[in-house]
Structure formats: structure tokens, C-alpha cells
Subunit: 147 residues, 2 copies
DNA sequence: TACGTATTATCTGCATAATGATAATATTCC
DNA sequence: GGAATATTATCATTATGCAGATAATACGTA
């Protein structure tokens, strides 16, 4: 009989749900959700990207990122500006308010990590991260060199 | 600067998304989704449970399971029957068609597992499962013995 | 036993998110 | 100019969780 309780997919889903719930709880006071936080994190590294570029960096579907950006724009944390060369595209920039949240929200993320990984040693966490990176699959595109 | 790319939450989300996508692909011919498959798996172990019981067994929110059952009922894989003692509740039973899918769908799940865990050794998979179970958090309720 | 209250089972509505399909518009390439 | 491509928006389906509504059951107390 199929043992759903011990299947990797099921366990991944439940671990993910718990991580989500904990992170949600930590950032709830700022009216954010985990994916919104993730998008902000990418923008703290670099903003002024198009939606497609952000979508690739964050491995977020192009349809999904539109809605995420809508909500963060409505919250006043980022803004769309016209691309100077390409009238189809927007460039996404953090607002002052969006930039100012970095420290506070990073602290929330640190607290979440602590809570989520309670029960694992530091070495185990490193190992877990390594395995997740393998499961996550290849993101790099191995281009076949044109001969 | 916060390193979202290496955060456990982000990596969990991406590994989960990949596992979902692979499983989805395998069971797509049968017009099912991963959560629908999971619910069926619990029913193969035991059916005739109420929605609440299924919700607890599968750690699925009560609102969520209502919709899942709706869709599986529409697909003809399960049916709601009136609870003989409790007129508020339904008992969820597999239909013949739902029972008949067990072997085929379990094979899909096996193939998914193989695809998802490509890159990990058997020992690593065991270790990964163990860690996921820890991250997933306690499900048992430790009742304080009344003195 | 009877009444009021608390609890339980389910449904509905709302917000968010992921994904795929399609459409509208702009750009690029031939 | 016309065809192919790229960027974004919109819509549909599914999933998830929360809060509120409804109906039925269980319980405590008079």
C-alpha cells in the first residue's frame, strides 16, 4: 500500500507549510506574506529590473509576479517606472519605505529560521540546505556552445 | 544583506514547487493534482471517515478539504454519505473507480519520487526524510496528565 | 426532564498565491 | 511592411488558511 505519510512530496509540503506559517506570523505585523518578503529580498540586492528579470531571479511564474508587484505597489513598498527604451516593460524600483524595511524584515527572517530549524543542529541545517539545493534542480542554463 | 537565495524557507518553497510540478506531470493524464492524490492515498488506507477526521489525518485545513472532496466527488472517485448518527457530518467513501486507481497512481508516485530525488543517494534520501519529519513539527498532542 | 450554552461539522466568502492559456501591445528581425 | 518574438495583463482553475454563518449535537444545571 502506498505510504503517503512518508513520501518525500507529502513531507516537503508539510515542512513547507510550517515554514510558511512561521514566517507569515513573524512578518504579519507589516502586512506582508512570505512570497512578498522574498520578492523584496531580491530587490534589496538589486532593483531597477523588469518583471521578467525578477521572475527569473526569483523563480516565480510571470503571471504570479504581476500580482505580487501589484500588491507591493499598493502597499507603497515599490513602484513601476517606464522602461526608458522599451515601452512594453516596467522597471521595478523600491520606494524609500521599501528600502527602509530591510533591517526589520531581515530580523524577522532570522527569527523564523531559528524557529523553523529548532531540532536540527547547525551541521544538519547545512546538510539540509545542500540537499534542498539538489532537489531544487538546476537553474543554470547549460548552453550548447555553437561550433 | 539578507541572503534569500540560501534561506531555508526559500529553498523549501522551490524544492516543493519542483516536487509538485513533477508529480503533477505524472498524474496529469488522470486529471488529478498532487493534493487530490494525497487525499486519495489516505482514503486507500481507510475510508468512511468524516471530513474533520480526514482533515486531521492529512493536516489539511477544513475549508481546503471541502473543496478537494468536491472536486474528487465531481470526478467520481469518492462519494459523501450521510453519517448514520450525526446529521451534520458526511462519511467519505471511495467509489469503485476511486479504489481501482490505487495501483496506477501509486506507480506514478514511485516514478515521481525517482525523478525528484535524482542526485541524492538512498542514504541521503533517508536522512532527508528524517529531517523533513523534524521540520514538519510535532503532530502528536502531548496531553498533560491530570493529577 | 428541559433549557441554555458550548462545541462540533460543514459551508461560504475573502485574500493570497501558483500555473497555464490567451490577448494586447511593443519591439525586433528579415 | 510583415512575421516572429517579447513584455505584460487578464482570466480560469486549484490550493491554502482565516473568519463568519448555519445547523446539529453534547453537556451542565436547574
Amino acid at each position: 500500500m502506498y505510504d503517503i505519510e512518508n513520501s518525500i512530496g507529502f513531507l516537503l509540503a508539510k515542512a513547507y507549510q510550517r515554514a510558511w506559517a512561521i514566517m507569515k506570523e513573524e512578518i504579519e505585523p507589516y502586512d506582508l506574506t512570505p512570497p512578498q518578503f522574498a520578492l523584496l529580498s531580491f530587490l534589496w540586492q538589486q532593483d531597477g529590473l523588469t518583471q521578467v528579470e525578477l521572475s527569473e531571479k526569483g523563480q516565480i511564474d510571470r503571471s504570479t509576479i504581476g500580482g505580487l508587484i501589484d500588491r507591493l505597489e499598493r502597499s507603497g513598498l515599490l513602484e513601476r517606472r517606464q522602461h526608458p527604451q522599451d515601452r512594453r516593460a516596467y522597471l521595478i524600483f523600491l520606494t524609500e519605505q521599501g528600502k527602509a524595511m530591510e533591517e526589520t524584515l531581515s530580523a524577522c527572517a532570522e527569527r523564523s529560521l531559528k524557529r523553523i530549524t529548532t531540532g536540527l543542529s547547525d551541521d544538519e541545517i547545512t546538510e539540509f540546505r545542500r540537499m534542498l539545493n539538489i532537489l531544487r534542480g538546476e537553474r543554470r542554463v547549460y548552453e550548447i556552445p555553437s561550433c
